[in-house]
Symmetry: D3
Subunit: 239 residues, 6 copies
Amino acid sequence: MRILVVNVNTTAAVTDGIVGQARAVAAPGTEIVGLTPRFGAESVEGNVESHLAALGVLDAVLHHDGPYDAVVQAGFGEHGREALQEALDVPVVDITEAAATTATYLGRSYAVVTSLDRTVPLIADRLLLAGLDRRCAAIRASGLAVLELESDPARAVDAIAEQARAAVRDDRAEVIVLGCGGMAGLTGAVRERAGVPVVDGVPAAVTVAESLVRLGLTTSKVRTYAPARPKHLSGWPLA
Amino acid sequence: MRILVVNVNTTAAVTDGIVGQARAVAAPGTEIVGLTPRFGAESVEGNVESHLAALGVLDAVLHHDGPYDAVVQAGFGEHGREALQEALDVPVVDITEAAATTATYLGRSYAVVTSLDRTVPLIADRLLLAGLDRRCAAIRASGLAVLELESDPARAVDAIAEQARAAVRDDRAEVIVLGCGGMAGLTGAVRERAGVPVVDGVPAAVTVAESLVRLGLTTSKVRTYAPARPKHLSGWPLA
Amino acid sequence: MRILVVNVNTTAAVTDGIVGQARAVAAPGTEIVGLTPRFGAESVEGNVESHLAALGVLDAVLHHDGPYDAVVQAGFGEHGREALQEALDVPVVDITEAAATTATYLGRSYAVVTSLDRTVPLIADRLLLAGLDRRCAAIRASGLAVLELESDPARAVDAIAEQARAAVRDDRAEVIVLGCGGMAGLTGAVRERAGVPVVDGVPAAVTVAESLVRLGLTTSKVRTYAPARPKHLSGWPLA
Amino acid sequence: MRILVVNVNTTAAVTDGIVGQARAVAAPGTEIVGLTPRFGAESVEGNVESHLAALGVLDAVLHHDGPYDAVVQAGFGEHGREALQEALDVPVVDITEAAATTATYLGRSYAVVTSLDRTVPLIADRLLLAGLDRRCAAIRASGLAVLELESDPARAVDAIAEQARAAVRDDRAEVIVLGCGGMAGLTGAVRERAGVPVVDGVPAAVTVAESLVRLGLTTSKVRTYAPARPKHLSGWPLA
Amino acid sequence: MRILVVNVNTTAAVTDGIVGQARAVAAPGTEIVGLTPRFGAESVEGNVESHLAALGVLDAVLHHDGPYDAVVQAGFGEHGREALQEALDVPVVDITEAAATTATYLGRSYAVVTSLDRTVPLIADRLLLAGLDRRCAAIRASGLAVLELESDPARAVDAIAEQARAAVRDDRAEVIVLGCGGMAGLTGAVRERAGVPVVDGVPAAVTVAESLVRLGLTTSKVRTYAPARPKHLSGWPLA
Amino acid sequence: MRILVVNVNTTAAVTDGIVGQARAVAAPGTEIVGLTPRFGAESVEGNVESHLAALGVLDAVLHHDGPYDAVVQAGFGEHGREALQEALDVPVVDITEAAATTATYLGRSYAVVTSLDRTVPLIADRLLLAGLDRRCAAIRASGLAVLELESDPARAVDAIAEQARAAVRDDRAEVIVLGCGGMAGLTGAVRERAGVPVVDGVPAAVTVAESLVRLGLTTSKVRTYAPARPKHLSGWPLA
């Protein structure tokens, strides 16, 4: 099967990292295709950028040429999953939700450790809408921006592990979710330091997407994600 | 003061109707300026269209020339209010939330009557995120599309009033909220038929916006709506 | 229009302060009439006093001679709003709810800073019943009694600002609500010290009441606030 | 021990009925003393009457001469329990809460059947504040006023049993709570018709009060129910 | 009446302590019969042990010879109450729920102080399922194992009182619930040190059971606790 | 990898059906080993049977000879998953939770269609504890017992499809979850009749278990599922 893994920012290097993670966990026979939006922000850390990302991801997928079996939206806490589900027939998996549901199989409660404090509310909104909030013990910020996480992995591990340990100790979290695509590759180091399972969203989402395809399941089209009514769209970018 | 009232769809006639409603309730000295997005859908009735609207509204406001004191986003159940709050210094009022909070002053619980069944989940999500869901007794669909509501008011009143009465009788609603910009002007007729107060979002939002300005209050900038970090946005429309 | 603003305690100086705040924000053409209960407590800081206040306010309004368009109950966290809504035809606005809904337009979450710890549960109950609890990050006590707040504004500002800053830092509040009528006039000083918007209940409630009147809306009479059934009331105070 | 059982309305015959129920279940050695408020409504079916009842009950208890070990407030869904807890050192039991907690020992969920539709919100508020709402499957109105229930028991049983059966069938209730003091004595007939356990508030509350006394437990005085601060109360009835 | 009080572990000395507590509070005429499971763990502090306890208690009751009027399951936070309710016709009272409902009559919120941190989730699950979680301010662990609590009462009081005081100060608890059968007899010492009412589960449950019997109430058999369908059970222990 | 799939009842034919479903979806290289408890009920449709199943499953797994990588508990709504997680080092997946989380990827809300009305509360409890209740629109009973579902597939499809359609129409469900192991093999027929995606728990759980193993994730051992403390277990079956 072929899975599109779509970055939410316009930084190709981030897409490469995401694709690498996805391929590392993909089953034999699963082809991972990475997409980078044609427009948007170099990193997504706020409301405007997140709304841009929603459309950037949709645009990237709709302009992709060739068949695919599922789509993974690889941004933690971003908007847009519902739009993809409406526009597409294949399963759509957001890494925020995939990470959270995966974490719930591993412990009573999980904590998310993300980049900046300003992204915490975005993540909280996604988890609330997805009904995944009750087992979320805390959403903590490492204090490092997305691109800083990428550029200084050692410092990133320190900052994330400190919050992870605090979440286990003070928030009674039993599992840590890495709440940022830019944290890819830090899973092992954080787990070692935190002493609990650590879930990264992209690999989790790839396994969810593969599972849905294997189970022959796809998005329900009866109401929330029914195809859009035929109507005039004007201007950019989807007209 | 000057309030920008921004339509979420690209149909200028709808903007005209919204502006008319806004002006009818505005205080002396309040200037209402209507804006229509340069891109988007002719009516907003789904997830993709709603995400387009979020950016279309933001684009319209950011490209508006001249000062203003507050912004009203005139789409019921659409995305984008958070992005406006982040991008602007003046108060931002979404008509969904203004209608709901206004309704809570009038009765123990309210019901929303909207256009199509497919827009119900969008409204439910907005109310959940805003913490306004607990006093919402029901969200009911009239079965008429946004543009049908505009074009056949008599049929619209029939369809809305039927759902309003059902909400009062079966859902224990005590107030009705008209859940669609296209229902402007039907308030009186629905109230007469339903026997309970009927709240229309645009007038409600204008009074909320005026109140915030008079109280000297504006959006908190400490976390969720802090200004975006300086970064590279590429492509259109906000770069 | 004429708005009755009713103090919940029997201290006329507090009524004067409340009326002053109300007039400062009232629109041109709005007349503010202050009422002081004929019976009750000199300040309201507990359950018995709050129940007395509910009846004292009702008594004051029912004995008021002359027309009015709306009523503001100017006690933070007190009982009685529902009784007024049942007894009257005009809109009734409690300052607790007006402050909280106003705050929700300004930030993701708000904290209330009130007088004594013993009043926290009363406020929490009002917010829970009003469905306004989910966006309330915390209710904190300044440790000063209502009349101390009145008599020593500098000390009051210190105590309130300390709790406000703690709420922003530790509870993730983005807006502060002043949770006591006796805090009138401290808004500016607290805002300066806390760095976030500060909402005072009386001005907020006046604008809500004015808005409801302008919108032609009044309390739904179908169930919860239907007029009382004709029946024999004996003794004091409403017979 | 001696338990004060306080009616919430001013109808002495209702007090007599309540006292009769209480005595029927009281343990050997428990003395039941019935109190009727000196002021208030002949029956309590709304917000104003309920607030009057809160003070009427408090007044009746504070003016009671002689010792007692516990107080039962015998009104379903009325205000005032918190004020009694603040004012007194002995345990206070509201029949609404006693009935609900008793019901939770008997089945997964319970439904309340009350008098008029207009009293449903009052009951709902009490259960919400008490944290007893989640296992409440429904609150249904029989359509009979309090005094009608008293005067025509056969018709009352018919009306209550019809709602009880509907609650079991449609709301998945497994236990019925009689939600009105005036339903005293109908328990057996309703149980026979509904096929599930039926809980009456007054007997339930008497056993709870007796249990608290036997366990040597009384109200916590650290915060919510700490004694009132010394202050000037003016006017009647508690000054 | 005769009440079976069933220990959840296999340590007879613990049963003796529980029976002693039960008898100390039982009404004249109430006979307390203590039962110890034939199999299970010497103390219950985890998931496997708790599931064993559920069956051990059921086995002990079903093999008990002779009539009884109610059953008290004397384990804090253990599984099995639902199974007893299904299997028996008489009332069943779990001490976790009895302690929590008793505590709600005494203060706005309560905290549980239990043995080890690992038992906190078990207790939290019971309270959530029982709908008793909202008034639970915290569940705190003393750090002492069940049998340590038994063997060193002075140390136990120190550890429990420290957590109790922290719960009152930091979690706003107003009542303490002793969350372990092994804490029997420490109630007075903890109350003295914590300054708030302290509820012990076994005595509370005995009074609840007695009350249900006196009220003539028993478990609803319409759905959740309907008798098991006739079917083949094989193997051990209930076949 | 090798996955143990454990039936909750003692009927070997049901185990065979479950194993068949599991193998149909298992990835190449995944070995499915079916286990049938040595004791318990021939079908699980109530509280006692469910508690027996919890221990029967645990006993079966602990007595299994040879290595395995994950365990699937194949009973819908049964107790015991937490005990397995505590006792084992490998991932444990309950089919109730796997079906529910899978369903949340496919639509806004899902409904469970189960066997008998009496099993509805058991399922509701599992979903509540797992934090998966908010997106569950309804749990409906087909009215057929577990073994009837097995023995008359045509009648089963009729009964299930009727409830599925009702859930889509009346409860706004967008996805159907088959809430009984005995419904294996009916997925296609129900989907055709209901017009929405249909999720069966066993296949869903197998893919979740495979994913966890591939991701190298296993149960957190820091608190809730920490290994049992060394202690004396007496009697059977786990001593």
